[in-house]
């Protein structure tokens, strides 16, 4: 037996030990490796999954969300669909995708305004040329009208002039929508002339009935004349277009506290609530106008009104319904756009409707000639009916309102004659209060003041005062409602 040296034995033992240790390590390592491999494959599948999800999300973005977001720029009522996985909302990915959409929308919007501005500039240039040419044509036609009075020729000239006015209106409105100036400088003119001039620019102007209730001499400052004519023409065009051809469109001109109102009523279809809201938005002129928003064929009238109201500080309201069933459009011209012209010096156009207002009592100083001329026949007219008591409907000219007070007076006069003592006090309009009523009124007053004095101390005790207080409240409410 070979004696192994200790060293060798030690070495063997160490070797065995280390082999065992290594084997164990190897084993552990291998186990770890398999675990890691499983982990890696799990991670890989997860990565694949999320990559697929991401791709799907981007595809969804490209296929659905981007077009929707781009369309939404033009049609704000469209909804942009959310991400495919609702969970991505709020994650960095979700935020990044939202930013893509926002940047896209901003860019589309700016491109849209740029393209529209270019289109508007092109159209503005073209319509300005057309407008100038049509004005020259108008001059020529009017010269011919002055020169030739043979009826057949004159008829043709009138028709041509009317056609020309209509084309002019179209060109002018298109130019105004595209941001151009109204294209014509006018001098200070009567307001009724501007309204009648607007009326003349339409087909079917015979259906328009203008009632002029303005003071004689009410005029527009020069820069407001053409805008008012355009706005009135467009409002009338809408009214004529949307009402039956056998109905009238009624225009009335009236003074209001802040200026003058031109009210256009039609007896047509009326508008639905949505249409009315849209129309009101357009005429308010707050939002910038894009040609692409006006439809095909473009409906320019309201948009032009919107431009003009904003530029010239006019007010247009189309939000109310007309008592005739259609639409009521109101144009308000504020006092700073109004001026006065002496109607004796510069009368309104002969075709402009006369004012229904007699310039007798309320006539201001400037209208001397008309005021005195009218005031002199007016004064006897007031007296003659009461003196003669006979011919009620005398001069059928404009004094239909003179007949009414006279009748009333004649009817009230016999009544006091029958009861002489009641008519003795001068304030005979309300002497007929009976004693019981007077007592009740005074009692109510007394209990009312008593209730106010007693204040909060006797709430349950004072039944009657609270009742009266309630009554007064009630009447207040009614007054409010009536107003």
């Amino acid at each position: 037996m070979i004696e192994l040296p200790d060293l060798v034995a030690g070495g063997l033992a160490a070797g065995t030990l280390s082999a065992l240790a290594l084997g164990g390590g190897l084993l552990r390592l291998r186990r770890q490796q398999t675990r890691q491999r499983a982990e890696i494959s799990a991670l890989r599948t997860q990565l694949d999954g999320s990559l697929r999800a991401f791709t799907a999300e981007v595809e969804h973005l490209a296929a659905r969300r981007v077009p929707a977001a781009a369309q939404r720029v033009a049609h704000p009522h469209l909804a942009v669909p959310g991400p495919l996985q609702p969970l991505t909302v709020g994650t960095p990915l979700g935020i990044a995708l939202e930013n893509v959409l926002l940047a896209l929308q901003a860019e589309v919007a700016s491109q849209r305004t740029r393209v529209d501005a270019a289109a508007q500039a092109g159209m503005r240039g073209a319509t300005r040329e057309i407008q100038a040419a049509l004005y020259r044509l108008q001059d020529a036609l009017r010269r011919l009208q002055q020169r030739y009075d043979e009826p057949e020729l004159a008829q043709t000239l009138f028709q041509l002039d009317h056609e020309n006015e209509q084309s002019l209106r179209r060109a002018q409105v298109a130019a105004v929508v595209c941001g151009a100036w109204v294209g014509l400088a006018r001098e200070e003119s009567h307001l009724v002339d501007a309204v009648t001039g607007g009326q003349a620019r339409l087909a079917g102007y015979q259906r328009v009935k203008v009632h002029n209730h303005l003071e004689p001499g009410t005029a527009l400052v020069s820069h407001a004349v053409e805008p008012v004519a355009i706005i009135v023409a467009e409002l009338l065009d809408n009214a004529l277009r949307h009402s039956a051809p056998d109905t009238d469109v009624v225009v009335s001109l009236e003074h209001v506290h802040h200026g003058v109102c031109v009210t256009v009523d039609d007896a047509g279809l009326g508008m639905t609530r949505d249409e009315r809201d849209r129309a009101q938005r357009l005429v308010a002129g707050d939002a910038p106008i894009l040609l692409t928003d006006l439809g095909d064929p473009p409906r320019m009238g309201l948009a032009a009104i919107g431009r003009l109201t904003r530029q010239f500080d006019l007010g247009v309201d189309v939000s109310s319904a007309s008592p005739y069933g259609g639409v009521r459009a109101v144009l308000r011209v504020d006092s700073h756009l109004l001026s006065r012209l002496d109607p004796a010096d510069r009368p309104p156009a002969p075709s402009a409707p006369r004012t229904t207002r007699r310039s007798g009592p309320a006539a201001p100083a400037p209208t001397h000639a008309y005021g005195t001329q009218d005031a002199v026949p007016d004064a006897p007219r007031h007296h003659t009916p009461t003196d003669e008591n006979g011919n009620g409907d005398g001069e059928g000219d404009g004094n239909g309102n003179d007949g009414l007070p006279q009748r009333r007076r004649r009817r009230t006069r016999p009544a006091p004659a029958a009861v002489p003592e009641a008519s003795a006090p001068p304030a005979s309009s309300r002497p007929a209060r009976r004693p019981e009523e007077a007592a009740a009124a005074l009692g109510a007053l007394q209990s009312g003041t008593a209730a106010a004095r007693s204040g909060a101390e006797a709430a349950p005790a004072a039944g009657a005062p609270t009742a009266t207080a309630h009554d007064t409240d009630h009447t207040h409410d009614e007054g409010g409602a009536a107003r």
Partner: protein
């Protein structure tokens, strides 16, 4: 006379007659004379006809004068005047025809004859 503004008129002429240029009576001429009658003005006349009646308040006018006064073409004024004449609110009178001038040849021959008589 009224001073018409020099600018482009705001209200076109065809509006005064509602677009009609053929008068209901054909004999009106530029120099026909229009004058008010005693007839009372009925209510509801168009504004332009009222304006013409107002213009005639001061006395009679020729068609062309009234047209200038109202700033309307003669053709439109003829329509208005014919309408008013139909309602017997105005008289119309044809223009006075210019007196016939004598034939200068005849005059010359008469003068020659007289001269011949004198010298004879």
């Amino acid at each position: 006379m009224t001073a018409r503004p020099a600018g482009r008129p705001l209200v076109p002429a065809y509006l005064s007659t509602g677009g009609v240029a053929r008068p209901s009576r054909p004999h009106l001429e530029r120099l026909s004379v229009l004058a008010r009658t005693e007839e009372r003005v009925p209510p509801g006349l168009p504004a332009a006809e009222l304006a013409l009646l107002d213009a005639l308040e001061g006395g009679s006018l020729a068609v062309v004068e009234a047209a200038a006064l109202l700033g309307l073409p003669v053709s439109a004024l003829c329509v208005l005047a014919a309408g008013l004449a139909d309602r017997e609110l105005i008289h119309t009178r044809a223009p006075i025809p210019p007196a016939d001038r004598f034939d200068p040849d005849l005059l010359k021959r008469v003068a020659d004859g007289l001269r011949a008589l004198k010298h004879a």
